[in-house]
Amino acid sequence: MSFVFYILATLTLAGALAAVMLKNTVHCALALTVAFAGLALLFLNLDAQFAGFAQILVYIGAVAILVVFAILLTKGSETPKDGVFSRTWLAGLAIAAAVFAVLGWAVLNSAWALPHETAVPEVTVKQIGDALVGRYVLPLEIVAVLLTAAMIGAVIVAMHEKERTK
């Protein structure tokens, strides 16, 4: 377990924890970006170069901005009046802990069966390109359609009220 992995792991988890725990929503959003960046680096650490850059480009480039915009548009940035956490936060926490316990237990139990060291897969963008338009051409087309639909949907949903109900 390389030293880099530990750093990146702590970075990501800290970011995630901050994103969940912080009081100020914008700070949460920024913490989220840190978590995204940490994940991207983890991907790079796993030699998944294309995935890492895609992660940065998509998440940090678009989703983070989206979240921040959403926060601003919904006046999220003012400090909420009545507590940041919902009334039944304890139950939620307990359940999350339970989920982690189950997953952790599953991982630890099967840890001995996991492969230790494998060769670094030599992946070039050309291979990915070929895979995308070769074996995965159908998912590619479907995702294309999905993205268009989502874009149009999001626009319509969030369109300014006045015009739509003219």
Binding site: H27, G61, S77, T124, V125, K126
Partner: protein, 396 residues
């Protein structure tokens, strides 16, 4: 023969220099040291260039506006940047009390880091690239993506209505123009078949009948370059698109609450972003470090790269001096209703170009399509605009 030796050494001067420096260190450290040296070179070189361009720009603008420009500090105002630098360093760095200190401080730092990261993959000369990454272009755009976030952080953290408004406009503009930027770059990738910038430059580094194979001289390449240029000016909030820090309305846009060194950082980041986006433009369309004519190939490659770079900077300044500022809705409409459709069309043309095989036919077809498209979009655009007197929807 001796000339070639000379040209090669001139060409590879920096590479050899680097090897020489690195050779002093023990073997295992060599790769790390090499990168450190190269990055140090980059980090030093571009701020100097930044300083030069500030003067270059102010003098250029002045010339355009028929005035002299700074000529008090040093001969012909050459030392003006030194003065600015010392001024910004010595100025008091005021942080508004209501501002969100951490985010306020973090914004400029993140911006500068993100911008400098771009240079890692730019081939500034023959095998003078910091990291020859297989997905170089993707890395570049990934790094470019975080600029918007830092702009937003700056705008929001200073708790100032104008700065927030400026940040929102800047981010909206940058996101709108990021899509055409990527799409125009994708056309180049489609033709060369690889994301790595060195391969792209290599693909353009051929000559036929003395003319270079630069992509700009192909119909789709030229169209893509035009769209790329437009997007870059918008990405760096320059010239016609510099609404965010439009001095007349929003004081200084998202960096109003910044002063002193942080303000300088913003300024530095803006110019370095300009250099890096122009650098990319040259590698993609103007053949990177390849010489314009075959017989000029003896000139060192990095000279071509930097000269093209400076030519682009000159164009930026030229644009700033001549074009009026665009209104926000015009800017957005222009992005989504003119630039984006043409980029998509350009993708189609590039595909056609690639699969029609050599010959004059593909030239005719591609250029015909593009010309028709431009003329058509222009006419439609012009006819719908009522060029009557300016009407203020909100002002009155």
């Amino acid at each position: 023969m001796s000339t070639t030796l000379f040209t090669v050494t001139a060409d590879q001067f920096f590479v050899l220099l680097q090897h020489w420096v690195v050779s002093f260190l023990p073997g295992s450290w060599q790769p790390v040291a090499a990168t450190v040296v190269s990055s140090a070179a980059i980090v030093l070189l571009f701020p100097i260039l930044f300083a030069l361009t500030t003067v270059f720009e102010r003098k250029g603008l002045a010339r355009i506006q028929n005035r002299l420009g700074p000529n008090r500090v040093g001969p012909f105002g050459i030392l003006q940047p030194m003065a600015d630098g010392i001024k910004s360093l010595t100025k008091e760095d005021i942080v508004p009390t209501t501002a969100d200190a951490a985010v306020h401080f973090l914004a400029p730092v993140l911006l500068v880091v993100a911008v400098f990261m771009g240079f890692a993959v730019l081939p500034m000369g023959r095998n003078m690239v910091l990291v020859d990454m297989d997905a170089g272009l993707l890395f570049y755009f990934a790094m470019g993506a975080s600029t918007e976030l830092s702009v937003f952080m700056a705008g929001w953290s200073s708790r100032n209505k104008y700065s927030l408004l400026g940040a929102m406009r800047a981010v909206a503009q940058m996101i709108s123009y990021e899509v055409p930027l990527l799409l125009s770059a994708v056309t180049v990738v489609m033709i060369t078949g690889s994301l790595s910038l060195t391969k792209i430059v290599a693909a353009q580094d051929q000559y036929s009948y003395g003319l270079p194979h630069w992509y700009i001289f192909t119909p789709w390449g030229f169209a893509a370059f035009v769209l790329y240029a437009i997007s870059t000016t918008a990405e760096t909030n320059r010239s016609p698109f510099d609404l965010p820090e439009g001095e007349s309305e929003l004081v200084a846009g998202y960096h109003t609450e910044y002063s002193g060194f942080k303000f300088a950082l913003f300024f530095l980041a803006e110019y370095v972003a300009m250099f890096s986006i122009s650098g990319l433009g040259t590698t993609l369309f103007l053949g990177g470090w390849s010489a314009p004519f075959a017989f000029l190939s003896w000139v060192p490659s990095w000279i071509w790269f930097f000269s093209k770079l400076m030519m682009s900077i000159f164009v930026f300044i030229w644009l700033r001096g001549t074009l009026p500022r665009l209104r926000q809705d015009q800017l957005m409409n222009f992005a989504w209703k003119f630039v984006l459709p043409l980029c998509l069309l350009n993708l189609l043309v590039a595909a056609l170009w690639r699969f029609m095989g050599d010959g004059w036919l593909r030239w005719v077809v591609c250029s015909a399509i593009l010309v028709l498209a431009y003329v058509g979009m222009g006419l439609i655009g012009m006819r719908s605009k009522r060029l009557g007197p300016r009407s203020y929807r909100y002002a009155e």
